[in-house]
C-alpha cells in the first residue's frame, strides 16, 4: 500500500494526482488509471449504480465519461486527461459499492491511453488536493 495522508476522516494517497472535481489519477507510463477519491465517495455516500464509458472511446480533458448514482444524487465523473479509454472496470456494474469500500484500489473506474504527455502537468499533486479538502 502506498503511503497516505489523512485529512480529517478522508484518505489521500501520496502516489496519485488529483482533480478539482475529486477524481484521482495514477500515471503509469502513458497510461492513466482513474477513480474517485475517498473524499468524493464519502460525500456521495452509498453508491448504488454506475454508468461506465466504452472501451475505445476517445475522451478529452473535462468530458463526462461516467456517472455515479448514489441515493443522494447522480454525479458525473470527468476525464482528467485526453486520450483513448483502453479498459473499464466492469465489475462495478454488479458491485458499485466497491467504490465506497475501496475507492483507490478495487473501485478504479477506467484507464486511458494518453494523447498528450504534458497534459498531466495540469493535475493537482496530493498536497494541493489535501489543501483543497482540508477543513471540509
Amino acid at each position: 500500500m502506498s503511503s497516505e495522508v489523512k485529512v480529517g476522516k478522508y484518505i489521500v494517497l501520496v502516489d496519485r494526482f488529483y482533480t478539482d472535481t475529486d477524481e484521482w489519477v495514477k500515471i503509469d507510463g502513458n497510461i492513466a488509471i482513474i477513480g474517485i477519491t475517498d473524499y468524493a465517495q464519502k460525500k456521495l455516500r452509498d453508491i448504488v449504480g454506475i454508468d461506465l464509458p466504452k472501451v475505445g472511446q476517445k475522451v478529452k480533458l473535462g468530458d463526462v465519461v461516467a456517472t455515479v448514482e448514489s441515493v443522494k444524487a447522480a454525479s458525473d465523473i470527468f476525464s482528467p486527461l485526453s486520450g483513448t479509454i483502453i479498459e473499464v472496470n466492469y465489475t462495478l456494474t454488479e458491485e458499485p459499492e466497491k467504490i465506497n469500500k475501496s475507492p483507490y484500489d478495487e473501485g478504479w473506474i477506467f484507464k486511458i491511453q494518453l494523447d498528450d504527455d504534458k497534459e498531466k502537468e495540469k493535475l493537482l499533486t496530493y498536497d494541493k488536493y489535501v489543501d483543497r479538502i482540508k477543513g471540509d
Partner: protein, 345 residues
C-alpha cells in the same frame, strides 16, 4: 440550522452527519444498505429528534375540527397517521396524534412543518400549543426481531404511556409504533437520559441507523414523505393516504367530499425498476406510456431488501395500470417502471 442533541455522541460513533429539513442529523453510521437490512432482519435504532413534537391543550371539539380522524378513543392510544388539511383538502401536514386525555393531545409533525403547524393550529382555534421538540430527544427502535433484543413492553401496537420507564431510565413517553413497517417502540426522553439509552442499546447489540435507511424503509412500505410525495396541493384521495374519517367534521371535509364524489385526476402509485438496473429516477422525472407523459416520480431509492430500484409517484388515474410497465428516461436512456401497489415488499 438546528441539530440533534445527540450530535456529539453520534459523531463519536462515526455518524455521517448531514442536513435534513433544517436539522443536522445522522444520515448514516456505516452504510444505509446494512442499516436498512438490520431493521428488516434484526433491529436498529434511529435518532428522530428533528420530528416536531407538540402538546396541544384545550377543548376537544376544537381539536376535532383540526384533525381528520376522530379522537373518540381511549386515553393512551395513538390516532394516526392522520392530517391537518387546508380548505382545498390539501395537506397542511400529516401527523401522529397521541390522546393523553379529552383536553390534551400530543402531536408529532414533520420537521419541516413544525412552525407552520403551530401557526395553523393557533390561527384556526383557541387551543394552547406548547412546542416540546427541544425538550426531548426522540429515539425509535425498530426491527423484525426487536423482542429478541429488548423486553417487550406491556403495550399494544399504537398505544403509549407517559412518564414511564425504559431500560430502567425515566422517559417522558414510550409508544409501540414506528415508520418502517416493522414492530418497534419510540421513546421521548431528555438529552441526558437519551445518552444513557444510546449506551444501553449499544450494549444490547442494537446499532444506530441513519435517516437514509429510514427513507428507504418507508419507501418500501409506501409511506409518504411530506414535501416529496405530498404537499399543500395534494389531497389524501389522490395520495391514497387514508388519514380521515369521512363521518366527522373537520377543516377541508367539504372539499374532500366533493373530491370523493367527482373522483381524482391523478393517483399515487408505487413502482419498481427491473432487477440489475442500477439507477435511480429523481423527484420530478416524467413517467410515460409509449410517448405520452402520464405521470411523474416523487420519491425513489435503491431497495437493498429487493435488490432493485423502487419508488413512488403520481400517474393520471387513466393510467394507474398496476402491473403494466411505464417508462422513465434517466440520462437519455429509457427504463421500464413497473406500476405496483404498496407495500412494495
Amino acid at each position: 440550522m438546528f441539530e440533534t442533541p445527540l450530535l456529539k455522541t453520534e459523531e463519536k460513533f462515526g455518524a455521517n452527519i448531514g442536513e435534513f429539513a433544517g436539522w443536522n442529523m445522522p444520515l448514516a453510521f456505516t452504510s444505509y444498505l446494512e442499516e436498512h437490512l438490520a431493521v428488516r432482519k434484526e433491529v436498529a435504532f434511529f435518532d428522530l429528534s428533528h420530528m416536531g413534537r407538540l402538546r396541544v391543550k384545550g377543548k376537544r371539539e376544537e381539536m376535532e375540527k383540526l384533525i381528520c380522524r376522530s379522537l373518540n378513543t381511549e386515553k393512551g392510544k395513538m390516532i394516526g397517521p392522520t392530517a391537518f388539511l387546508n380548505d382545498n383538502a390539501g395537506f397542511v401536514d400529516d401527523i401522529m396524534t397521541y390522546k393523553v386525555s379529552d383536553d390534551e393531545i400530543l402531536i408529532v409533525t414533520n420537521a419541516i412543518n413544525r412552525e407552520k403547524d403551530i401557526k395553523w393550529i393557533t390561527d384556526n382555534s383557541s387551543l394552547n400549543v406548547e412546542d416540546l421538540t427541544f425538550n426531548y430527544v426522540m429515539i425509535a427502535i425498530q426491527g423484525k426481531k426487536i423482542w429478541d433484543y429488548l423486553q417487550k413492553p406491556d403495550l399494544e401496537f399504537l398505544n403509549f404511556q407517559l412518564n414511564t420507564k425504559f431500560l430502567d431510565e425515566n422517559v417522558f413517553l414510550l409508544s409501540r409504533s414506528g415508520w418502517t413497517g416493522e414492530d418497534g417502540i419510540e421513546v421521548w426522553a431528555t438529552k441526558e437520559t437519551a445518552e444513557k439509552i444510546f449506551e444501553k442499546l449499544l450494549n444490547k447489540n442494537i446499532k444506530p441507523a441513519g435517516l437514509i435507511a429510514r427513507d428507504s424503509l418507508r419507501q418500501e412500505m409506501g409511506f409518504v414523505l411530506y414535501g416529496e410525495d405530498i404537499d399543500d396541493k395534494t389531497n389524501p384521495i389522490e395520495a391514497r393516504y387514508w388519514v380521515f374519517d369521512i363521518s366527522k367534521e373537520f377543516i377541508g371535509k367539504e372539499k374532500l367530499v366533493e373530491i370523493l364524489k367527482n373522483g381524482v385526476r391523478k393517483i399515487r402509485i408505487g413502482f419498481k425498476l427491473k432487477k440489475g438496473v442500477r439507477t435511480i429516477p429523481r423527484n420530478g422525472y416524467k413517467l410515460k406510456a409509449l410517448d405520452t407523459e402520464v405521470g411523474y416520480v416523487t420519491s425513489s431509492t435503491y431497495s437493498p431488501y429487493l435488490s432493485r430500484t423502487i419508488g413512488m409517484g403520481y400517474v393520471n388515474s387513466s393510467h394507474a395500470l398496476f402491473g403494466y410497465s411505464l417508462s422513465v428516461v434517466i440520462r437519455d436512456k429509457e427504463y421500464n417502471v413497473k406500476v405496483s401497489d404498496f407495500p412494495l415488499i
